[in-house]
């Protein structure tokens, strides 16, 4: 019973923090662009509104896919240690986390492709291409840290950095951190890596046929994705945290960097993005990997 409660609390917590970040992110971008911007709780209002509206669906795959996408990401979230706490006792294996995350994206892709709108399918094809672009450098970074620590448990890697700030992997392996940051930008689908959304080009790609609660679920999925991805970076590079508040603060720092880059950059074409990801961050990651190995 306690476990069930914990699982629910962790899930709701991730959704809450993710939505909060999204709202603050919009405000920050607005201020950078000299606008006033919506209030920081706007994301909650949006989700509430979307869930209360009527919506359309094309077939059962859309319903199944949307539920699978949020479900997959929430399942991933339950494997990520948050300030040393995990929803359930596991070995917090990094490879499991990376693969579980994919089921969320697969569900989303399936749902939007089932809508029968070609714009959505184009968006998905770009998103998957982008995925191959960022996964490779990001995994190279992880590989370096895994070999250095001799374990693939996220919790152990995070614990190994305890003590002073000088123990943080961010300080010890700055190159890896830079590469991971660039890959993270693509992972979150923020500019300059947002070719899959591209509103002016393919009518927001995957989101084109989503309405009402389907769009609401997509919002929540994005919120949880933000939470999971920033939490992985915090655990890998910033030594986790001793309490939840510090942990969320560190996550927010990571998210802020992403938002700053998002606010000022234009968009890569998809092949430019993949080429960039395979040259710059990949090159940096490989140099770091070689430095770790020798």
């Amino acid at each position: 019973m306690i476990t069930v409660l914990r699982v629910f609390l962790f899930g709701l917590f991730a959704i809450f923090i993710g939505l909060l970040f999204m709202g603050i992110g919009r405000k920050v971008i607005a201020r950078i662009q000299l606008r006033y911007g919506p209030p920081f709780y706007q994301a909650f209002i949006d989700v509430g509104k979307l869930f209360s509206r009527k919506s359309i669906t094309h077939n059962f795959v859309m319903d199944l896919g949307m539920v699978m996408s949020l479900g997959g990401l929430l399942a991933t979230m339950l494997f990520v240690p948050i300030a040393g706490h995990v929803a359930i006792k596991t070995s917090t294996n990094l490879i499991v986390i990376m693969y579980l995350m994919a089921i969320g994206y697969l569900g989303m892709a399936m749902a939007v492709a089932a809508s029968g709108n070609p714009n959505a399918t184009i968006g998905v094809s770009r998103a998957l291409t982008m995925m191959l672009g960022y996964e490779v450098p990001f995994f190279t970074v992880m590989l370096g840290l895994i070999i250095f620590n001799g374990t693939s448990s996220l919790e152990l890697i995070s614990n190994a950095q305890a003590g002073s700030i000088l123990n943080w992997n961010m300080i010890k392996f700055p190159l890896a951190f830079i590469a991971a940051e660039i890959a993270l930008q693509a992972m979150m689908g923020e500019k300059p890596f947002d070719a899959m959304i591209a509103p002016a080009e393919i009518a927001s790609g995957p989101m084109v046929e989503l309405s009402g609660k389907y769009l609401g679920l997509a919002f929540l999925t994005h919120a949880v994705a933000i939470f999971v991805e920033t939490a992985i970076i915090v655990n890998l590079f910033m030594g986790g945290a001793s309490n939840v508040f510090t942990f969320v603060l560190k996550q927010f720092e990571i998210y802020l960097i992403t938002v700053f880059i998002e606010a000022v950059f234009p968009r890569f074409k998809i092949e430019q993005a993949v080429k960039f990801l395979w040259t710059v961050p990949m090159g940096i990651a490989v140099i770091q990997l070689i430095l770790i190995l020798v």
């Binding site: 699982v7 899930g11 709701l12 979307l50 869930f51 009527k54 919506s55 359309i56 669906t57 094309h58 795959v61 319903d63 949307m66 699978m68 949020l70 479900g71 997959g72 929430l74 399942a75 979230m77 339950l78 359930i88 596991t90 070995s91 490879i95 499991v96 693969y99 579980l100 994919a102 089921i103 697969l106 892709a109 399936m110 492709a113 089932a114 809508s115 070609p118 399918t121 998905v124 094809s125 291409t129 995925m131 191959l132 996964e135 490779v136 995994f139 590989l143 895994i146 070999i147 001799g150 374990t151 693939s152 152990l156 609660k213 389907y214 679920l217 998809i270 092949e271 993949v274 190995l293």
Partner: protein, 624 residues
């Protein structure tokens, strides 16, 4: 033991007699497969079973024996092959109702050679069965279809090259180690190599090449796509899931023990040269298979290249030369059997109902074939290696092994391949089943019961092995223990990695996934109602097609699905086309044979032939 081999052989005869009568052949085929499965199940653990004929004849200084024995790893391969074959043969009952040809006779002969390969006690039996399997598949692929002939010829040519290389290797092995029996020859070969005799390495490489040909690894990766595209779909299912593993089995029992225990120069203290050779072949197969799969438009070709990529993973596991990697590879053999069979069954169902295998001509079939869609969906989730389905556990073990040996290049290649797998798998899903249903397929129906049942079984199997890997890992680890590997028998749901604190409980992963989906479903139910609209009620940029005087038309994005990505890789793929290489070899052969023919025309050929014959006789006398 021997009846296990004879029943399929006798069944072949009966099938040949009743070949005209489909109502007899396919049920008989199913029954014999059922018998084989039951028999294999009943001989589990009886590792001393064997039948041996001593014919008291020596060749090349080695005693010639013919024998079959129940060896643990062979049993592991044979049992799971038989399980998949049984399920496919249920499918064949329904699938072959309409077809004119009858592949069951040849197929039964292949099942016979299949068992022979897995239970061979010596290289002579092994080679005989290997040959039977090679030429019979030629007839099974063509199956009276003219357009399949090209692919089948290509396959036959490669098989023959492989078989000749193996014949040379076996003769050399016999001559240098003094035995033809498989297990003693392993120790013999290790001794030959460790006494720094170059010929040992040559023998090993000859064997390796043969096995790589059969498992469609890097330089020989072209045959699956040529063969799978044209062969009869139910047989192709068998071929892609079971037959492609024939190369893996001898690698597991022969190449891996030899390479693991010989003294060769090491690279960066991580592994010896041969290990790296196998690893690079695996890595190139995995990456190249993935890239080529991404660019296919024919669904059967796409999954043919996916098989190449999966063989790459298995080779990578072997290359790590750790027990976790080895177990992972052998586990992946079975996982790949299950998931590839599931996927190809659905493809066969799609071809059965629509007669089309070009993906861009299909679309929206989920409206008509929901069960096939669900099987395909679970199949691709498994193939992508996403928990909680099978395919994840084995990939995870292989990658753990690679990371623990610090083989970073191989680990990155593996991640590249399995992330690229999402691309082609999703493309197949979207193009075949999702999107808008073309009008010409609006009367397509779901498959009949005999074809639906195997799909249901496959779905259960994929989930079962994904959540409770012990059902495969327990027999595997017991088999490995029985042949002398230092392993512990695996528990039901826990997989052991090779790094620190690397234990995953797939049961917990499954529960967490269910928990995530439940939370998500609550959110979904929390929202307001939705209504289902017809498929062409789509966003059209705020305009109504009727106002422009046009009808709403079916439109799917599926032909050049990854065009920008393809343009990045075009120069590379053009540079490494193996087909061009083989074509140039072929041209040279043609040139050479023309020259030889010209010699005959001028009358010098007879002299030449005679002298070659004399030379061969003399050489033969010297060797014997």
């Amino acid at each position: 033991m021997i009846e296990l081999l004879f029943i399929p052989l006798i069944a072949t005869l009966f099938l040949a007699i009743f070949i005209k009568n489909k109502k007899v052949t396919w049920p008989l085929f199913l029954a014999v497969n059922g018998y084989v499965l039951y028999k294999l199940y009943s001989i589990y653990g009886m590792w001393s079973l064997s039948n041996k004929f001593d014919i008291g004849y020596e060749i090349l200084g080695a005693k010639l024996t013919l024998g079959v024995s129940n060896n643990p790893i062979g049993w592991y391969f044979a049992f799971f092959s038989a399980l998949i074959t049984f399920i496919i043969s249920i499918f064949s009952l329904g699938f072959n109702q309409k077809s004119k040809e009858n592949v069951s006779v040849i197929w039964m002969l292949i099942i016979f050679s299949n068992l022979g390969i897995f239970f061979a006690q010596d290289w002579v039996i092994f080679f005989m069965m290997w040959e039977v399997m090679g030429w019979t598949s030629f007839f099974a692929i063509t199956n009276a279809r003219d357009k399949a002939l090209d692919g089948a010829k290509y396959y036959l040519a490669l098989s023959l090259i492989g078989a000749s290389l193996m014949l040379i290797a076996i003769s050399l092995l016999g001559a240098y180690t003094g035995t033809f029996a498989i297990t003693p020859s392993i120790f013999g070969l290790i001794q030959v190599i460790n006494s720094s005799n170059k010929i040992g390495i040559v023998i090993l490489l000859l064997f390796l090449t043969t096995f790589l040909i059969k498992s469609a690894a890097f330089p020989f990766y072209m045959w699956p796509q040529k063969v799978y595209a044209e062969g009869p779909e139910d047989y192709i299912t068998f071929m892609s899931s079971v037959m492609i593993k024939y190369g893996i089995y001898p690698m597991a029992i022969f190449i891996v023990p030899v390479v693991g225990s010989i003294d060769l120069p090491k690279i960066l203290n991580t592994g010896n040269i041969l290990q790296y050779v196998i690893g690079y072949i695996g890595a190139i197969s995995a990456v190249l298979g993935t890239l080529l799969a991404i660019f296919q438009t024919d669904m059967k070709k796409l999954f043919a290249y996916s098989s190449v990529s999966n063989m790459g993973y298995i080779l990578l596991g072997f290359a790590s030369m750790t027990i976790v990697g080895f177990e992972g590879s052998l586990f992946h053999v079975v996982n790949h059997m299950i998931l590839k069979a599931a996927i190809f069954l659905t493809l066969a169902a799609v071809v059965f109902r629509t007669g089309e295998s070009e993906m861009h001509k299909l679309g929206g079939l989920v409206y008509r074939m929901p069960l096939t869609f669900m099987t395909f969906l679970l199949g691709i989730i498994a193939a992508a290696g996403i928990p909680p389905l099978n395919g994840f556990g084995s990939k995870w073990m292989i990658i753990q092994a690679l990371m623990s040996r610090k083989m970073v290049v191989f680990a990155i290649a593996m991640i590249f391949a399995s992330t690229g797998a999402f691309m082609y798998l999703f493309r197949a899903l979207a193009s075949i089943f999702l999107g808008q249903l073309p009008d010409r397929y609006k009367d397509v129906k779901e498959v009949p019961l005999t074809m639906a049942l195997p799909m249901l079984i496959m779905m259960v199997l994929m989930l079962l092995v994904g959540v409770v890997p012990g059902v495969v890992m327990k027999p595997l680890t017991s088999a490995l223990k029985a042949v002398g590997y230092n392993v512990e028998v695996a528990s039901l749901t826990v997989l052991e990695g090779s790094l620190k604190n690397a234990t995953i409980d797939l049961k917990i992963v499954f529960y967490m996934f269910v928990a995530g989906v439940i939370i998500s479903a609550i959110m979904y139910l929390f929202g307001n109602k939705s209504e289902t609209v017809p498929q062409n009620d789509n966003y059209t940029g705020g305009e109504y097609p009727e106002e422009w005087g046009v009808d709403a038309d079916r439109f799917n994005y599926s032909y050049a699905f990854y065009q920008p990505f393809k343009e990045m890789f075009d120069p590379l793929l053009e540079a490494i086309s193996i087909d061009d290489f083989f074509a140039s070899v072929g041209r040279n052969f043609e040139y050479m044979s023309n020259e030889v023919q010209a010699l005959f025309k001028r009358g010098e050929g007879a002299v030449l032939l005679f002298s070659i014959g004399v030379l061969l006789l003399i050489l033969g006398g010297l060797i014997i």
